[in-house]
């Protein structure tokens, strides 16, 4: 398939990811402000900030970049990172070998050009009763192949069946709109993916995960990816609303900091996106914005 034939598709995908990142920034910032206004905690949050930074490859070359937004020190959210980036170029040989061993990308042996665009969000709430969440969708293109990937998963410190069921219910409905087999397939993939082998446990209560998605119908695949973006908001926000006012103890908070250490372990040791980002030389702060604000390995 010719490069040019895919130029407009890449443009379409990039525009969607970029716009989705902007709307997620708005939505979560508003959520924080509404919570502060309703709960009367605005005066306690003088340090709440939302910092938006343009990111680029650290070598300064024109290999793409993006926009990283980090909200910090809210009353509802301790840290939220929302990242959009579009990167391209030629993978260095060392990165190519390491990635090939990890099966992160395929078929790049002959012509190692790549283009990738995506959006990701990780939210760490201040209250241990509010689950952390991760969402990501992306398109990857190489001269021989292109595909979509993404997913959303929930990481509660204190599990709640109603939350888990709602989160999965919304994602299931979203999947069903595209393909009757997607939910089961992508839920199982999430269960396998968000597993921490050395702790012999799941990172959280799962969700969906997909990669290498290329059904042969780019428009249908892209429509599914946009639908996952909308479903994520619908799946997560009501859970935040239900849990945000729950009380918690100091030991609950201590438990949260230990859970977050597992989160950091997963992201740094296993996560494909993190490893691809570090290998491909993208801005380390942007790649690692998913890491928890504070973590304890006591």
């Amino acid at each position: 398939m010719a490069d040019t034939a895919y130029q407009s598709k890449r443009d379409t995908a990039r525009a969607w990811f970029s716009g989705l990142a902007a709307s997620l920034r708005d939505r979560f910032e508003r959520l924080e402000h509404e919570y502060q206004a309703e709960s009367g905690t605005a005066s306690e949050a003088p340090k709440f900030t939302c910092t938006t930074t343009r990111t680029k490859a650290p070598d300064g070359s024109d290999r793409g970049g993006g926009l990283m937004a980090v909200m910090r020190n809210g009353c509802l959210f301790e840290k939220i990172g929302i990242n959009h980036s579009t990167v391209y170029g030629v993978l260095e040989e060392a990165a190519l070998h390491r990635l090939a061993a990890g099966k992160s990308i395929r078929n790049l042996d002959r012509d190692p050009r790549f283009w990738a665009s995506g959006v990701s969000l990780v939210a760490h709430a201040a209250n241990p009763k509010v689950p952390a969440v991760h969402f990501n969708t992306r398109m990857f293109w190489t001269p021989v192949r292109h595909w979509f990937g993404g997913g959303a998963d929930l990481t509660p410190c204190f599990e709640c069946d109603a939350d888990t069921e709602w989160f999965h219910h919304v994602l299931e409905a979203c999947c069903a709109r595209s393909d009757p087999g997607y939910y089961r397939q992508f839920k199982e993939w999430a269960d396998r993916y968000f597993h921490i082998p050395h702790r012999n446990r799941a990172r959280g209560v799962g969700g969906i995960f997909f990669d290498d998605l290329n059904s042969g119908d780019w428009e249908a695949d892209f429509r599914f990816v946009t639908d996952v973006g909308r479903a994520f908001v619908k799946a997560y926000i009501p859970i935040v609303g239900r849990r945000a006012d729950e009380t918690y103890s100091e030991s609950d908070h201590e438990k949260l900091l230990r859970m977050r250490a597992l989160y950091a372990e997963f992201n740094l040791v296993y996560d494909r996106g993190t490893r691809f980002g570090l290998e491909s030389g993208h801005d380390a702060d942007a790649v690692l914005m998913s890491l928890p604000p504070v973590a304890k390995w006591p």
Copy 2:
């Protein structure tokens, strides 16, 4: 080389590593108690504990184990992990491939049996002016080859030339007793190894690092490894003595927590020992005892 010919060498090495771990536990525990007594901070440290745990392979099979000691909440040291372990068995195929790709171990394709024994120490001080330190020595055996590895390196939050020079001076003298070329070679190796590519910076001020050490004279190599163990104590303890009473501000402490996040990034993303430990199924708490007690990615 026959297995049996190396049985007594393995026994000798294991006995040394185990004894060294015990003497390091004693030395650092005494150091903490002496500091508390001299500085009058004993009453501030009611929570100081030293917990010693037997570790074993998580599948419960007889594949070795060790002794993990973790000291916590001291006035001088916030967390020290001292780990001795001896592990052996047959590497699973998946672990073999991942490790081969990372070049962590060699020549295991045909007969994937291995035996490894070692001792490691990581100390995270409470005072940001006291550098963190890492020390490790180990012997690795496979049917086709055996070798030693190890090193010691210093990670100050606030660099001090006198400390750096002393630390390197002691290690240089230790290396010179075994081989005139070792220090230069192993110092450069440490500079390469303790580098965090995605941050484009060193983890600390280095030290020495060696791996794959097999000069053909097992006794000489073993003598060097024991000498590194003794040199580590001589290199680090005086630095602690000089820095422990320095005052520090809240922002110094904040800087420490950010430095520790880089420490966690290095260990989880790049460190050979950590990755080998996680892949080979050894006790995750023991493998990860080097992680800082608290880290911040604000």
